[in-house]
């Protein structure tokens, strides 16, 4: 009886490698966050563990969410796609009007003692929504009209986010483009899009070099070109000081000087520069390798997913993670102009870690759907 049961039940796969990598990254992130934020925590709230406590709470919540999501068959979520999309749109619009302001931009919704960043939910909602649409548009993705149509469907969510958070809008647009790129049998539209993008970037940079004036975005480009000469290059320069003073093996964990108020809000977007300072080139490369491994695992899962929906979900998660890691490190090393993008798993941010872990749960769920052919 039992043997019969076993036979009929296909061999289930659980991606422990990915799970292990995620848990390792989370722990590492918490250690680095404590190291980085203890100064600000102490000077502002008289509690050096202030930030890490909050982050630990969000992480615990996230881990629970990850396990719950990972055991729910991912196909179940398909029916929530439209609702999630509408909810994300509603919340992103709402935050513009009733959001809590921080540094001139309202990005948070306050619910009791908890604050919540709708744009993080939007990332997950868009991944789910686009994956569903692609799944339900059989054989239509070779057509550029259909591609544009699906792309346009993401715009209602992107626009309210664009209003006060350019970086997240760019990330969501990037996720959508990546998912469409994978789903479409054609490549030339995307090559064309890439070419147009590159030309646009070159034009903006040339305009900036010629000393043109055009608001704070252009100013960022000018800072990027020469942070030492620009009066507002402070944050970028402080990040570079931190990275440069790390050297090969760093100053040792907890020994960063730049986190002592020199790098503004070091625990957020600039945390990678503190990792560089404390752990050196060695530590920084290790972190990069960890992320590559996670992305590699996601690629394996996406390639072996049971169906296109699962594959697209993982592609979305993979592109989300990739875009944020690459852009964050690029910003910190002043490879691209400064824009606020956090480093997944490591930067301080409760909503971000919560939804990121939920996404990882989705990927694990997709991985569970893989039938091993032995």
């Amino acid at each position: 009886m039992a043997g019969k049961q076993k036979k009929s039940k296909p061999l289930r796969y659980y991606d422990y490698s990915l799970l292990f990598l995620i848990i390792f990254l989370l722990c590492f992130g918490l250690v680095m966050l404590y190291s980085t934020s203890s100064y600000y925590g102490f000077t502002r709230f008289d509690d050096s563990a202030y930030y890490v406590k909050k982050q630990l709470f969000a992480t615990s919540l996230g881990i629970v969410a990850m396990f719950v999501v990972s055991i729910i068959p991912y196909q179940w979520w398909m029916k929530w796609a439209t609702l999630g999309y509408i909810a994300a749109f509603g919340l992103c619009v709402a935050v513009i009007f009733v959001g809590r302001e921080a540094k001139g931009q309202s990005r948070w919704l306050q619910i009791g003692p908890l604050s919540f960043q709708p744009s993080e939910l939007a990332k997950l909602a868009i991944i789910l929504f686009i994956a569903t649409i692609i799944y339900k548009t059989p054989r239509g993705l070779g057509n550029w009209k259909n591609l544009l149509k699906i792309g346009a469907m993401s715009l209602p969510v992107i626009f309210p986010i664009l209003y006060n958070n350019l970086s997240t809008a760019i990330i969501i647009a990037g996720i959508v483009v990546c998912m469409l790129f994978v789903a479409s049998p054609k490549s030339r539209y995307f090559i064309l899009l890439g070419a147009v993008g590159i030309i646009a970037v070159v034009l903006v940079v040339m305009f900036a070099i010629s000393g043109g004036e055009g608001g704070y975005r252009l100013e960022r480009v000018q800072i990027w070109l020469n942070p030492e000469a620009h009066e507002k290059g402070y944050q970028t320069l402080q990040g570079l000081y931190a990275i440069g003073s790390g050297g090969l093996f760093g100053k040792g964990l907890g020994e960063s000087m730049q986190k002592l108020g020199f790098i503004p809000e070091a625990q957020n977007d600039m945390i990678f520069s503190v990792i560089c300072e404390e752990l050196g080139l060695f530590g920084a490369i290790c972190v990069i390798i960890l992320f590559i491994l996670v992305i590699w695992r996601l690629m394996i899962i996406a390639n072996n997913a049971q169906d296109l929906f699962g594959s697209m979900l993982v592609v979305g998660v993979m592109s989300h993670l990739s875009i944020q890691v690459v852009l964050n490190i690029a910003v910190v090393t002043n490879t691209i102009p400064n824009t606020g993008i956090s480093l997944p798993f490591i930067s301080y941010g409760g909503t971000s870690i919560l939804f990121l872990l939920a996404e990882m749960g989705l990927a694990l769920s997709v991985a569970r759907g893989i039938k091993l052919e032995s």
């Binding site: 050297g247 002592l260 992305i295």
Partner: protein
């Protein structure tokens, strides 16, 4: 159900590869930043974190020839504020106003200035510094350092000079030997966070200061003090403008005393040594001018017409050139006609017939005008040069004035005549002493000096200061003759007021009128030396603008006598 198709897999792999390449590129960027730019950024970061505080080095002491301390250091405090650390600005401002006596405005400016550290006041007494520390206000820093202190206040003020706020020499020996006296400042390097708060346990790097070396000078505290007392008495008695005294060893150029009375208080050099009423009428510019005058050392920096003391040099030149012998006879009718002018002798009725020696004893102008005539301007000028009168003495004090002399081609008979008895040109008192020393000591022109040696604070020799000597500026014979002749001036002639029982003193008096002559202002002086046969000490007394009797033989010679009476037994010991 839609299957996951192969083209999709291919594209997923492409996506992964793109991400992988991007990561590799960023790793390359990190290698560039963390290996090749590491030094540059690391240094910049360090500069940002480090705060540097100087530790003043103790300045070397100045000791007299017997080891008496003439200039030393006292612990004082420097008060600074650190803007970032101040929590109660109002309390800090009130405290600074109350304790340092600065205006509220100044205190406010210092406290509110956004800088890493702002110096409020230096050279604050240690007691005040301790009191400020006791307030325990955050952001107020009390650093101890040294202030120059002169134990004898006014003693040898114009020689020693004083130092500025950063312990650097400003005038006198303090500036001349600054490089020896000044030590090397130490540093305290501390790490701070962005608010400027020092990080505990970060450890501070201390670069210990190196103390300056001590300077031993030839000045003798006892002689200097005695000479100052003598000068003070004469200054009061004769209501003089100033009384200067130089005591020097003519054999080696060591200066034993140099007085310019009134002296000033070295511990308070910015207060004029005048009465309240006198200061009250001065404008700021005049006050500054008066301060500069007070700090001057006229023995070195001011020139005057030496008058009859210069006859020593005229005599030596004439002897050297063999245009006069001791048996030569002169006749003085009370004047001498030079070209169309009648130049009077000090004794208008005339000295009558006299030999050369008596002429010197009488300080008879016509005799020396005759000598000048016999020498001729070219020869006279040659001896000026040979004796070193035309160059500076190179004394180790700053601001030495050069001789003001006629150009050789402009010396006509009248100029030649006046030069012969020490008028119409100007030299510094130290120049006169140096030149006469050379004539008396057998022709060695020594460099007058104070500095003898440099030693560490423990007394270990660092450097013996050497002074080159120009030899043979006159013959031994001339030198001996001059000693004998000048001894006679004191024993029998105009210098008899300087006679001291039991000692053979040589000397020459002088009374010169300052320019313009119409003011009837005089400079009385006396140059004496002892023992006459081998001079060991030479004294020059100069009284500027004495009231009443102004003859050098009457008022200056007795001062020299007083000095000789006291220092000759003292030096013999």
């Amino acid at each position: 159900m839609q299957r996951n198709k192969t083209p999709n897999r291919k594209k997923i792999t492409i996506m992964f590869l793109v991400v992988f390449l991007a990561m590799m590129f960023l790793s390359g960027r990190l290698v560039y930043l963390m290996i090749f730019c590491s030094e540059y950024y690391g240094q910049k970061a360090e500069d940002l974190h480090e705060r540097e505080r100087d530790i003043k080095a103790a300045r070397g002491k100045i000791l007299d020839r017997n080891g008496m301390v003439l200039a030393t250091n006292r612990s004082v405090c420097t008060i600074s504020v650190i803007h970032n650390q101040i929590t109660e600005p109002e309390a800090v401002i009130d405290m600074l106003v109350a304790e340092l006596g600065i205006s509220e405005e100044t205190a406010k400016k210092r406290v509110e200035k956004v800088s890493s550290i702002e110096r409020v006041k230096t050279n604050v007494n240690k007691e005040v510094g301790d009191r400020i520390r006791a307030y325990g206000l955050a952001g107020v820093k009390v650093d101890e350092d040294y202030k120059r202190y002169y134990p004898f206040h006014t003693l040898a003020s114009t020689v020693l000079g004083f130092t500025g706020a950063d312990n650097q020499g400003i005038v006198g020996l303090e500036v001349e030997y600054d490089s020896y006296l000044q030590g090397i400042s130490g540093k305290i390097l501390t790490l701070t966070d962005a608010r400027g708060i020092e990080i505990e346990n970060a450890g501070e790097t201390r670069l210990e200061p190196v103390s300056g070396n001590d300077l031993v000078i030839s000045l003798d505290y006892n002689i200097q003090m005695y000479c100052e007392q003598v000068a003070e008495r004469a200054y009061i008695k004769k209501s003089a403008d100033r009384v200067s005294i130089i005591v020097m060893n003519p054999q080696n150029g060591e200066l034993l005393a140099m007085v310019n009375y009134p002296e000033y208080n070295l511990n308070d050099p910015f207060t004029l040594n005048l009465s309240e009423e006198e200061i009250g009428v001065l404008s700021d510019a005049e006050k500054q001018n008066a301060l500069n005058q007070m700090w001057r050392n006229p023995c070195v920096s001011d020139t005057y017409e030496p008058g009859s003391t210069f006859k020593i040099i005229t005599s030596a030149a004439a002897l050297e050139e063999n245009v006069v012998s001791l048996s030569d006879n002169f006749y003085c009718p009370g004047y001498k006609i030079v070209e169309d002018r009648r130049i009077r002798c000090s004794k208008t009725t005339g000295h009558g017939s006299q030999d050369f020696s008596l002429g010197l004893c009488n300080s008879c102008n016509p005799v020396f005008m005759t000598l000048g005539e016999r020498l001729g301007s070219a020869n006279f000028y040659k001896y000026f040069r040979q004796f070193g009168l035309l160059s500076k003495t190179n004394i180790d004090l700053p601001g030495e004035a050069a001789t003001i002399m006629h150009a050789e081609k402009n010396i006509g008979p009248v100029e030649l005549a006046t030069i012969s008895f020490g008028q119409s040109f100007q030299i510094t008192p130290i120049q006169l002493c140096t030149t006469v020393s050379a004539i008396l000591n057998g022709g060695n022109r020594v460099i007058p000096h104070f500095g003898i040696r440099v030693q560490t604070s423990e007394g270990k020799l660092v450097e013996t200061l050497e002074y080159p000597v120009a030899t043979d500026i006159c013959s031994d014979k001339t030198s001996e003759t001059m000693c004998t002749l000048l001894e006679k001036v004191v024993s029998e002639g105009t210098g008899k007021n300087a006679k001291v029982d039991g000692f053979a003193i040589g000397g020459k008096t002088a009374t010169s009128q300052t320019l313009p002559r119409s003011l009837k202002r005089y400079i009385s002086s006396f140059l004496g030396f002892a023992p006459a046969e081998h001079p060991e000490v030479l004294v020059l007394v100069i009284i500027n603008d004495p009231q009443g009797v102004y003859y050098g033989g009457t008022i200056a010679a007795p001062l020299a006598k007083e000095i000789f009476e006291n220092i000759l037994p003292y030096l013999d010991k």
